[in-house]
Each structure stands twice: as C-alpha cells, then as structure tokens.
C-alpha cells in the first residue's frame, strides 16, 4: 500500500517533470510532419470509409494531390511545405467526412419529390 503510493507519487513527479520539459524541447519540424502525416492519413481513411473523400487529397488524376505531394516534399527535406500541404489535406478530409455525415439522410424529399 505504502510502496504503491510512493511509486505513484514518483510517477506523478516524473510526468510533471516531463510536462515541464516539453516546452523547452519543441518538436522538430520532422516530428511535427510525422505527427501531421499520421493525423491526415487517419482523417483521409475516415472520409473514404463513408464515401466522402474529395478530389484533390490523393486521387491519382488530381493535379493538386495534397497528400502525396506533402510526402514528396518531406522526402526532399522541405518539411515546411509538407506541413502546409498536409494542413489542407487534413482539413479537406475532415470536411468530407462531416459532409457525408450531414448528408446521411439525403433523398428525393429534399428535392420536392
């Protein structure tokens, strides 16, 4: 019992310590990119799962292809550009999902028939 609470206090201190040190060690651009990429990929998957994906996120014939172009930019070391493109892709994926949800009950009644 006693031991357990000491351990948890220690753990709490450790966590607090970690929290306190994060602002001093900001994520590198590469880390930010990796986090944004994972978020975007998840959002795109979610939009696709409800047939809500928009044209310019990654479709092969799109001229914009934000997601693959972000990955390309990161490969070339341009993380800032990659992050900019990912921001658009993630936004579009989220909106596509939201749109599909909002349109769930779409039907002829909405068009007066």
């Amino acid at each position: 019992m006693m031991k357990k609470s000491i351990v948890s206090i220690g753990l709490a201190l450790l966590i607090a310590g970690c929290n306190a040190t994060t602002p001093e060690k900001p994520m590198t651009l590469k880390e930010q990119y990796e986090a944004a990429l994972a978020r975007t990929q998840a959002a795109v998957k979610k939009a696709a799962s409800v047939d809500g994906e928009w044209r310019d996120i990654r479709w092969k014939k799109s001229k914009k292809k934000y997601l693959p172009k972000a990955i390309e930019a990161a490969k070339a070391g341009d993380y800032e550009k990659a992050l900019k493109l990912l921001k658009i892709a993630e936004f579009q994926a989220e909106m596509g999902y939201k749109q599909a949800m909002a349109e769930k009950d779409a039907g002829p009644h909405l068009y007066g028939l």
């Binding site: 658009i88 936004f91 909106m95 909405l110 068009y111």
Partner: protein
C-alpha cells in the same frame, strides 16, 4: 564604433522598410480591391460565379441563379452580402451555391475582395 554601426543598420532597415511600403502601396494601387475581386469572381478555378450568375462584364454566364446587379440596393449592409457569399446555406440549406468560406474554396481575403467587387455592381 559598434554603437554607430548599430545606428547605421537601424537606419538602413527603416529605409528598406519604407521602400517596401511604397512598393506594396503601389501594387495595391494598380490592383484595387474591386478589380482584384472581379478577377477572383470570374476565374473558373476560383469563384466561378459566372457558372450560375450573370454579372456585367462576364461572358458565357449561366442562368441558374439571379443576375448579380444593383447589389448596393439589395445588400445595403456589406456584411450581409459577405455572409451570403461566405456560406449561402445560411439562407437556403439545400442551395446549389458552393459554401465558399466553410469549404475553403476561397480564402477569407479572397472573399473580402469578391465582396468588394459584387457590392460595386
């Protein structure tokens, strides 16, 4: 010596800054908000308002929507006009007019400029 240097670079900096201001001022004088807005409104990849609205100065306009004219009269309040352009769904949830703001088809700045143009009609 060092302090002189500092003063000098400070002066150079403000000179450059001033020059920069003049340049941007000139650029926006050449491109006033109304004509900048017109370009965006007519651009097929941007506003493409002509797809549905007749607008003076535009060719091959569609006729899905009411022609945009006498807009100051229709929208004395410019903010109301901007709101209509930003998201037409507020007035008609099933409208065919694209939600330019919420879907980021146009940026906020671009919507400002388009509003200036449409309000001038």
């Amino acid at each position: 010596m060092t302090s002189n240097n500092h003063r000098f670079s400070g002066l150079a900096g403000s000179l450059l800054l001033a020059a920069g201001l003049v340049i941007t001022a000139q650029a926006s004088a050449a491109e006033d908000p109304v004509s900048a807005g017109k370009k965006i409104a007519f651009d097929r990849k941007k506003g493409n308002c002509l797809a549905c609205h007749q607008i003076e100065g535009g060719t091959l306009a569609g006729n899905i929507a009411p022609p945009l004219l006498a807009m100051k009269h229709r929208f004395p309040d410019k903010a109301k006009l901007r709101a209509q352009i930003w998201d037409a769904r507020k007035n008609n949830p099933r409208t065919i007019m694209p939600p330019f703001g919420p879907h980021r088809i146009l940026s906020e700045k671009e919507i400002d400029l388009v509003t200036e143009f449409i309000h001038s009609l």
